[in-house]
Subunit: 405 residues, 2 copies
Amino acid sequence: MALIVQKFGGTSVGDAERIRAVADHVARTRAAGNQVVVVVSAMGKFTDDLIRLADDVSPTRPPRELDMLLTAGERISMALVSMALEARGVRSASFTGSQAGIITDTGHTQAKILEMRPERIREALDNGLVPVVAGFQGISTEKDITTLGRGGSDVTAVALAAALKADSCEIYTDVTGVFSADPRVVSKARRLPKVSFDEMMEMAATGGRVLMLRSVEFARRHGVPLQVRSSFTWEPGTWIVEEDPTMEEAIVTAVTDDTSEAKITIDGVPDRPGIAAQLFRTLADAGVNVDMIVQNTGTNGLTAISFTVALTDLEKASTICGEVKEAIGATSVTTDDAIGRVSIIGAGMKSSPGVTALMFETLSSNGINIEMISTSSIRISCLVRAEKVADAVRFLHTAFGLDAA
Amino acid sequence: MALIVQKFGGTSVGDAERIRAVADHVARTRAAGNQVVVVVSAMGKFTDDLIRLADDVSPTRPPRELDMLLTAGERISMALVSMALEARGVRSASFTGSQAGIITDTGHTQAKILEMRPERIREALDNGLVPVVAGFQGISTEKDITTLGRGGSDVTAVALAAALKADSCEIYTDVTGVFSADPRVVSKARRLPKVSFDEMMEMAATGGRVLMLRSVEFARRHGVPLQVRSSFTWEPGTWIVEEDPTMEEAIVTAVTDDTSEAKITIDGVPDRPGIAAQLFRTLADAGVNVDMIVQNTGTNGLTAISFTVALTDLEKASTICGEVKEAIGATSVTTDDAIGRVSIIGAGMKSSPGVTALMFETLSSNGINIEMISTSSIRISCLVRAEKVADAVRFLHTAFGLDAA
C-alpha cells in the first residue's frame, strides 16, 4: 500500500463541480489500495477577493492580520473537499496548517517551515481516514497563524510528503505537466514524461511557471518524487525525480523564457576591490534579489556592472543604485525594462561540448542580439530584447531537436 | 477605565464600508478612555453562501467539516476589522475562538462552552491592544473546531465579558434596541430603555427576535450588564440588567408574538398515571422540544393532550405521536400548523392581579378565540389562530397602555 500526497491548486478546486471531480479522483486513488493525504489551495480567485477587501478597509496590510484573513480560503476548500469525500463514502477529516503540525517562524506572509509534527495526520491515516490539509498555512512559534508565501501550498504538500515518508507527491494543476517550452509560446512543445530535480530547479528559476523553486528544492532535499498532473484530464503528467545515472541524458531538455525582469547598468565604476560587494550588499539588505550579473573591465580603470532584478523591484533597486553611484563615484545608472531572458536547460549539457556554440549561432543567425550571458553546469541563459524572446525560444526549441513530431 | 465588550453582528460588518464604520466607533470608545474587546460575526450573508456550497458538494453536512467551513466567515471579518482599526492608529490583533481560549464540548454545530481561558486576550489588553475575537466558534476538548449554534456570537461576547469581568457587553445589531412589541407588527411600539433579565428571557422564549435565550441566560448567570444597540445610528439602545427592587415596575413591559410553532393534539388518551410521561420522554429522546402543554380530563376516563412544537420538528413529532398513540391505545393524533402565540411579559405582573382577566377580555371582545394558555410568574401566553396574531398583539399593546404617544 503506497502513501500518496495529492495537492490540488486553486483552479482544481475552483467551484463545487471541480471539488466533486477532485473527490472522485481521490476516491479512485483510495479504491486502488493507496493511502492518500490531500492538500488544497483556496478556491480559484477567492484569495484575490480577500485582498481586495483588505485594501478596501486599510491602506496598509498588517501582515499578521493579512495571514489570518487569507488562511480562511484554504479552510473553506478543505472543508468542502472533505465533505465531498464523505459524500462518496470515503471517511475524511480536514486539518488546518496548525492542526497538521506545520510549525513556522514568525515571518508573516512568507514564513519558513521550522518543524513538521504531523501526529494528527498520521493518526487519521492509521484510522483509515483521508486527511485533507490546508495548504499555504502554518502556525508560528508565537502561536500566530502564518502563510508560506507564493507557491506555499506546494511547499505544504512536499513537506508533508517528506515528514510522512510518502511514496510520492502529486501536484495537480490546470496544465498536463512540465513541457519542453511554454506551449503558449511554442506550439510544438512536448510534455516531458520525466525531468530531474536539477533541471526542474533551473527551469523554475528561469521562468518555468509550473512549480516554484522552493518546493522543488524541498522535494529534492528530502528525496520526495514529485509528479505534476492535470486535474482536468487526470492523464499521467511529468515526474520530477533524481537523475538516473544509468540512463543517457538528453543534452537539452527544455527552453524557458522570462520577461519579468529588468536590467540595471552602472557605468564608469572605479575598478577597485570591494566596489561590487558594496553595491550588492546594499541591494540585498534592502531585500532586492539580484539575478544575472555581468561586469566588464574597460581599459581606463573603469568598469561597467550590469545585473537583472525583478520588474517589481526595479524602482527600489534603481533608487539604491543612484545613491551607491554617488558614494562610489560612478558615472551613470541606466535601467532597461524591455529585456527578456531565454534559457536552455539539460542535465546532459555537462558532458556535451558545443551546446553554447549552437545556442549563440542559433540566436545570431536569426538576428537576435545577446546582451548578457549567464551559465550553470546544466543551463545557459541569454538576455535579449523582450520582443525577441518568443522568437528566440522557438528557434532554440527547433535547433535543439525538441519540436514534437 | 472601563472594559467594554462590543459585539458586531453580520449586518454590522456586512461590507467594507460597514467595517470602517465599526472601526470608527471602536476607536471612539477607545479614545473615550475605555478598554475594548471586539467580537464579530461573519459578514452579512457569507455563512449562507458557504452552506450553499456545502450542499452543492455533499447531500449530508458532516458536522465537523461544516464547523470547519463556517468558521472561515468570522476569520475573514475579524481580520478585516483588526486591519481597519490599525488603519486608524488603534493597535489591534485578531484571535480565533481557539486562540481566545474558548473551550467547548465536542457537540459540533451546537457546542457548549466548557471553559474560558482568555489568557491571550488579557495579555493583548495589558499591552494596549484591542483584541478582535471571532464569535460563534471554539475549540473542543478533542482539539477540533466547533461552532456554538444559532446566536453563538452573542454567547461568545457574553462569555468573554464574564471571563474578563468586563463592565458591560454591548450587542450591536441592525435595530436600535428592544421594543415593547415587534415594530413591524405594532407601529406604536416603543423602544425600552431598560429591561430586566427575567423579562428579556421570557421575551426571547416567546418570539422576541433581538437576543437569543441562551446569551441572556448566560449574561444573567454571570451578572454581565448587556446593552442592545444599533451599529447604524449608534444611538443608546436598551440595557438588560438585574431588576432594581427599589423601582416601581411596569405591569406589562412588552407583547411578543411567535408563529414558528405548531400544535399537536392526542385525543382519547386513557387517563392513567405515566401516560403523559411516556409521551414526552419519547419526544425528548428524539430531540423534540415541547413548549406549551395542556391536558384536559374528560368525564369518560379519557383525556386529550395538546402541546406545541417548533414547525421544523412537526413532522418528526407527529410520527412519534402516531407510534405512541398505538402503544397507549389513544384514539387520534391531529396536527395544526396555523396557530400562533401571543404573550404579555412584565416583571410587575407578579404583584398585580387582574392582568390575566384584562388579557382574556381584550382578546375575546375583539373576537379572538384562545385555544391554549400557559403562564409563568411574569408572562401569560395565549395560543390563537395564526392569522389573528398580529391583531392580538396590537389590541394587547393598546390595552396595556404601551402605545407610544
